[in-house]
């Protein structure tokens, strides 16, 4: 009959050809992920420049396979030439608000691979807990994790994540967010955080990292030395978001420092002072960095190859921010419209899908600075019991 598929002889093999072989490297921002897939009567061929492209092509190939009513697997003749629009396609997981067991992270990496994501942004520590087991500062997780035995990521765990990701062409970018979002660092690093004051007396509460002491920068140097070695990707995410100035303002030593430095009453200058030194430290360790948009908004002096992560969403204001960031010559990552933790009733995937990252006023050179985006699953209301159905 006319409409019946014509069965050719069973296809047995997909030939994979990679022009630049090598399975031992780590993927990077510059990795080429394009591939060509050709399925015809005589042969099935997947061609890619790099293994990373081959992985993407294999994923597509697996999606082309159908199964008929008799259980026979089949595939249609196809010609596909494919490549990503954006090179940085990421997913953020937050393992501080709630600890996520290793299997949850690995399962997420699998699903990321099904969806051709290539960056795992690991927001590993924050205010509520410090699950990262540091070899240089073991007290950080001993005192800062929800449970130092059961709710930590050992060096082995971290290595497992990085390798599992690598085999799927996924980069792991760790975020050690400072100077805010660091309450859990305090118990394991006495003297690191700013003691807040009520009038002239310490209140017992702590604020962001104390930017005025040399010991702070010694600590930060040592920690990031370790982090730079543990995480092989060129980029580290340094955070820099939502720094609350109230505690700094209340502290007499800091107020004295502000006077000494001539910062007046502008605590953004103090924040910049800290961030600048942090960026210099990380640079000297041979790493590039990504920062949340406040660092750009607050006029910190940044290296030209800094990547700015745009996250603030307020009635499409993020498009203006994208324009500003790229006009200033920095590369930009978009997350603002993709905070998937903000659940709502119905088919909210449609709003996420409709986002057009380049829909802002700017010249082509600016638009070229948008390297991609990240879907964020912040962990305030998420743990292993609901992560997967909430995210996918």
């Amino acid at each position: 009959a006319e409409n019946e598929p014509s069965w050719e002889k069973p296809c047995a093999e997909l030939l994979v050809y990679v022009s630049t072989p090598g399975c031992n490297e780590f993927p990077s921002l510059d990795s080429k992920e394009s591939y060509k897939l050709s399925v015809s009567k005589g042969s099935m061929l997947l061609w890619a420049e790099t293994v990373w492209g081959a992985l993407r092509g294999l994923e597509t190939f697996s999606q082309l396979i159908g199964r008929d009513e008799n259980g026979t697997y089949y595939i249609n003749e196809t010609e596909i030439v494919d490549f990503p629009r954006f090179p940085h396609r990421g997913l953020l997981l937050d393992t501080s608000r709630h600890y996520l067991p290793l299997r949850a992270i690995l399962e997420t990496l699998d699903v990321m691979a099904y969806n051709k994501f290539n960056v795992f942004h690991w927001h590993i520590v924050d205010d509520p807990s410090f699950p990262y087991e540091s070899s240089t500062f073991p007290e950080l997780s001993r005192k800062g994790a929800f449970n130092a035995m059961t709710h930590v990521y050992t060096a082995g765990d971290v290595r497992a994540v990085i390798e599992y990701a690598r085999l799927r062409g996924i980069r792991v970018i760790a975020e050690f967010d400072t100077p805010g979002h660091t309450l859990s660092w305090g118990p394991g690093a006495p003297g690191l955080l700013t003691p807040c004051y009520v009038a002239t007396v310490p209140s017992g509460i702590y604020g962001p990292i104390n930017p005025i002491f040399n010991s702070t920068y010694q600590f930060v140097t040592s920690l990031f030395q370790e982090v730079s070695t543990v995480f092989p990707d060129f980029f580290l995410h340094l955070g820099g978001d939502e720094v609350d100035f109230t505690c700094w303002r209340s502290n007499p030593e800091i107020r004295a420092f502000m006077v000494e430095m001539g910062f007046g009453d502008d605590y953004k200058k103090l924040e910049s002072f800290y961030i600048q030194r942090l960026l210099d430290i990380v640079s000297s360790l041979g790493k590039g960095y990504i920062v949340w948009q406040e660092v750009f908004d607050n006029d910190v002096k940044l290296r030209p190859d800094t990547i700015i992560h745009v996250w603030k969403e307020n009635a499409m204001q993020y498009l203006k921010e994208m324009a500003n960031v790229t006009r200033a010559g920095y590369r930009a990552l978009l997350s603002a419209p993709w905070y998937l933790n903000r659940i709502s009733y119905g088919q909210d995937w449609i709003e996420a899908y409709k986002v057009e990252p380049l829909y802002f006023e700017g010249v082509p050179e600016q638009k070229a600075l948008v390297i991609g985006g990240e879907a964020c699953m912040w962990g305030e209301y998420v743990d292993v019991t609901n992560l997967t159905p909430r995210l996918w």
Binding site: N341, R342, I343, S344, Y345, G346, Q347, Y381, T385, N386, T388, P389, R390
Partner: protein, 388 residues
């Protein structure tokens, strides 16, 4: 009544159902110390539910729910002292209930042949629930919400007309044909024997009149009955017949509020489920004011997810906050947390429903003065870990 003292703790209840509730509480009293020993403090508890009907609605038509999901959910319900499973088993989208008298209903109406509830499956659910002190009230919603019924039962639904000709599409159950009532008589005979609970939910919500209005036979019937252009009268005519049928099988009936709102003649024992969110307190006054028993769901549509700690708004509902006499308030026998299935299946049912439904569970069991959110938060976080 639970007394925990050395050397023997004693749980007394007048019926097994109370014993089950007491055992649940007892399990919550046991805790583990730092060395792994299990401890329980001396306690004296006298407990009883504030409301007698504490339900959860599951929808197995918008998405089929495998047996395992339903059973897991019954366990969770028992942890929260829920005692009614309102099984919204069929609807427009699919008919998974395998009927003995009318096998074509699920043969043609289920999503597929393996996405059905066989008589054994149904028995398993009922027994699993019974052992947990949970009643199973099935809902066979008519005359609206019945698209899937038409696949396996020809000439049940109303053919819609377009310009004098049948359009090919169908509307609600046809209320003018005798065959409709012959079918329902036989169908509800089966339902009455399969489901042992005293009550059956008959639905009656959201009936769209446009198809009826387009059909010449229906229009003719309206004229004959003197209903003129008031189709709520036709709806009530239909519903009254169904209430009679179900009543004749010695079953009580539950209906959605529209049946009351459209002034059908209800039986004295008919229970009205209030679900429309807008001004539900006023509806509760009307229903109980007319002397009918009511069950509240309006503020507890848990399928309406939103960001953050929405359990607090469910917890803060005070069901008796409606204008009415003491006598009226007694007619509100409880409530149901509803998890409609448009966006729910086995992959996300449990984390979506729980522990949010726990807030409803406490509101329906505990005394009206148990309202402190901070205290509830502490206990809810512990309870959640227990449930996991």
């Amino acid at each position: 009544h639970l007394t925990v003292i050395e050397p023997v703790a004693v749980l007394k209840a007048s019926e097994v159902w109370g014993a089950l509730r007491g055992l649940e509480t007892f399990s919550q009293l046991v805790y583990e110390d730092d060395y792994g020993s299990f401890l329980v403090n001396e306690s004296e508890i006298n407990d009883f539910p504030r409301f007698a009907h504490r339900g959860v609605l599951l929808d197995t038509s918008r998405h089929y729910l495998p047996l395992k999901s339903i059973l897991t959910n019954l366990d969770a319900m028992a942890f929260n002292k829920f005692n009614v499973l309102h099984w919204h088993i069929v609807d427009d989208q699919s008919f998974p209930y395998q009927s003995i008298y009318f096998p074509e209903l699920s043969d043609k109406g289920a999503y597929s042949s393996n996405l059905v509830y066989t008589p054994t499956d149904v028995r398993v659910v009922i027994e699993y629930a019974r052992l947990r002190g949970i009643r199973v009230i099935p809902e066979f919603d008519t005359p609206g919400h019945t698209q899937s019924w038409g696949k396996g039962q020809k000439d049940l639904l109303t053919p819609c007309y377009n310009g004098g000709q049948p359009s090919g599409s169908f509307g609600p159950v046809n209320p003018v044909w005798n065959t409709t009532y012959d079918f329902m008589t036989k169908f509800f005979k089966e339902i009455s024997s399969v489901f042992p609970d005293e009550f059956i939910h008959l639905g009656g919500d959201e009936v769209n009149f446009s198809c009826w209005k387009s059909n010449p036979e229906v229009k003719e019937f309206m004229k004959k009955q003197g209903f003129r252009t008031d189709y709520t009268k036709l709806e009530s005519y239909y519903v009254q017949n169904i209430l009679d049928i179900v009543s004749s099988y010695n079953k009580g009936q539950m209906v959605w509020q529209e049946v009351f709102d459209h002034r059908a003649q209800l039986k004295p024992e008919t229970v009205v489920q209030v679900w429309k969110a807008s001004n539900y307190a006023h509806e509760l006054s009307s229903v109980t004011g007319a002397g009918f028993t009511a069950v509240l769901s309006a503020p507890w549509y848990l399928d309406y997810i939103s960001y953050g700690q929405d359990w607090k708004k469910y917890y803060s509902v005070e069901p008796l906050n409606f204008p009415g006499s003491e006598k009226q308030k007694k007619l509100l026998i409880g409530g149901e947390a509803c998890l409609w299935g448009e966006f729910v299946d086995a992959t996300n049912l449990t984390p979506r429903l729980w522990p949010r439904a726990s807030a409803v569970g406490e509101r329906l069991w505990s005394s009206s003065n148990v309202t402190n959110l901070q205290d509830a938060y502490k206990r809810l976080t512990n309870h959640r870990c227990r449930m996991l």
